[in-house]
Amino acid sequence: MALAIERKAVTKWVERLLELGEVIAPVRTPCGDLLFSIVHSAEEVVWDSANPLHPPKAFVLPQTDPLVKITRNGQGVELEPIHDGARRFLVNVRSCDAKGIAFLTRMHEMDPADASYLRRSDNLTIISMACISPCAVGFCICADSGPFLNDSYDVQLTDLGETYLAEVGSAKGQAAVAEEPNLFRNATEEEVIRRKNLEAAARNHFGEENCHFGSAMRRISTGRVPDALWEKMSDWCLECGACNFVCPTCYCFSVKDLGGNGTWTRCRLWDSCQYSAFTLEASGHNPRAQRKDRMKRRFFHKVSAQYYARDGMVGCVGCGRCIKVCLGATHMPAVVSAIRKGKWHE
């Protein structure tokens, strides 16, 4: 179902959403950075912007995710599960990030379902913005995650100038629209055609695809990437873990008790498969002590056919954030390209 909302009316809609729950959107910080944050007024939402450096995954999977409250009582202990059931609206999120959350949700729904995550994702309404002019580093088109979405959104907006086309993709989207029915009208046929043309034009922006997952997948899934190539590539990796932390689909974690003096919070914390301690056992044995093995692990998890079969997509949405943060240039397109060509740049 395609609706339309006037550009000016979107602010009113966001004001209504603010009454219903938390609204998360790109905001400009005093220092000029752009990031996803809880907003307190509709004016704070930055509509025309590049994609923030951090994806919005922290709003479904916080970097420090409190799971259980622990209180010691003499020799005994009391436990209380921590539930976050807040209703949230994620506004003006790009296609790649909406797809990233869909990936995380699918993974956390797998048996055994993770209630802590799903409580957040169930209560999150994603209002995405289709990319009519794709960003410089993005390769969403290679990962089937944009520039426009066919799924994974609740409402997808397309900027038509004075109006936004609003496609409703779920019951949650329908509910969000129904909160201010007077702001929306049915889209005209002409508006729907313009949206289609904008998508076609946006797809053409990418030129030749620059991240050929298919051929890399064949090699990585069958162990045909030479060890020497992993070694050479991993020479460039600084083991900083930034690629993991800015990745919309990375979810590896550790579990720790934070606090002290008899009260703690058991938390799930983001972890990085690129850290050597990730696989370090208490005995001192480390099966992935070498950097090349850790890099191989990261790309096997994201690009192998084995994981593709499980997750239904590659573990990459083509947002290009790893390109921005990787100091060693061992980001997704570079590694995929090296695997295809069988050689790393010197």
Binding site: G223, F253, T279, P287
Partner: protein
């Protein structure tokens, strides 16, 4: 949908010193119905919480045929195990699980069984050994080979005596380095192979211990004619969640916590880091 990270509270009802750095903990759930409902197979493991320090995976060392005493045997090697060792009887810990595939006991009916354990590798096998001995008539010959660094590193000393005395068990023990008073064998576990007769075609071999020991024992067993499928081991990995989500224990697309920790040697060989 349940809170998959919420442990059940259990009490340490008995703590037994096995060696200077290893203790066996007997636990009982605070909610006694949980004790009855707690079904497990030998080879499965628990996520045990020491509150304030987090949780870590430990194999279940007791047999499901003896449900009155759920036990785990833990060596002191880090912060969490150090804190666990300092707890006294009556202290409360957390338990999630059981996790993992465990040993397929039914598949061993009618077979000869060879257990080869090194050091702290005995606890997971002890769960299976007592299961087998409690249903002794279902199985063929039972041979247990056990080695440790020194006599004081041997765990379950009373039970070792018991196994040695039983006429329906062939039991041999060795230590790498003897101490005063030790009159038994000295040398690494594979040396015990010389003292026993093998029937590789009708025997399942369960091997558990430090990686170097497993490697040597498996090679010896293959040389003796054991099929890769008949050599069964448990893999050890850094684990956090126990449910195939956190990715610490992943090998390729398999998870030691969920697809394992018990694998036959053919599967182990096929898994690529």
């Amino acid at each position: 949908m349940s809170d998959v990270f919420l442990p059940d509270i259990a009490r340490l009802v008995d703590i037994w010193d096995e060696t200077p750095d290893t203790k066996t903990f007997t636990v009982r759930f605070r909610v006694s119905k949980k004790d009855e409902d707690f079904d497990f197979r030998p080879g499965q493991f628990l996520e045990l919480s020491v509150f304030g320090y987090g949780e870590a995976p430990f194999c279940i060392a007791s047999s499901p045929t003896r449900p009155q005493a759920l036990q785990t045997t833990v060596r002191r090697t880090g912060q969490l195990t150090d804190a666990l060792h300092k707890l006294g009887a009556g202290a409360e810990v957390g338990i999630r699980g059981p996790f993992g595939n465990g040993f397929n006991v039914e598949a061993a009916y009618g077979k000869n069984l060879l257990f080869v354990a090194g050091g702290i590798g005995l606890p997971p096998l002890r769960s299976l050994i007592w299961n087998v001995l409690d249903e002794r008539s279902r199985f063929g010959n039972v041979t247990i080979l056990y080695g440790a660094r020194t006599p004081s590193d041997l765990v379950y000393k009373q039970e070792l005596d018991e196994w040695a005395k039983r006429s329906d068990v062939e039991f041999h023990v060795t230590v790498d380095v003897a101490q005063a008073g030790w009159t038994g064998k000295v040398g690494v576990v594979p040396l015990l192979f010389k003292t026993i007769t093998f029937h590789p075609e009708s025997t399942l071999a369960y091997v558990c211990g430090p990686p170097i020991m497993i490697r040597i024992v498996v090679q010896d067993l293959l040389t003796l004619g054991f099929k890769e499928e008949a050599i069964i081991s448990t893999l050890e990995r850094m684990m956090q969640c126990g449910i195939g989500k956190c990715n610490h224990c992943a090998i390729g697309h398999r998870y030691v916590c969920r697809d394992g920790p018990v694998f036959n040697y053919r599967r182990i060989r096929e898994m690529v880091e």
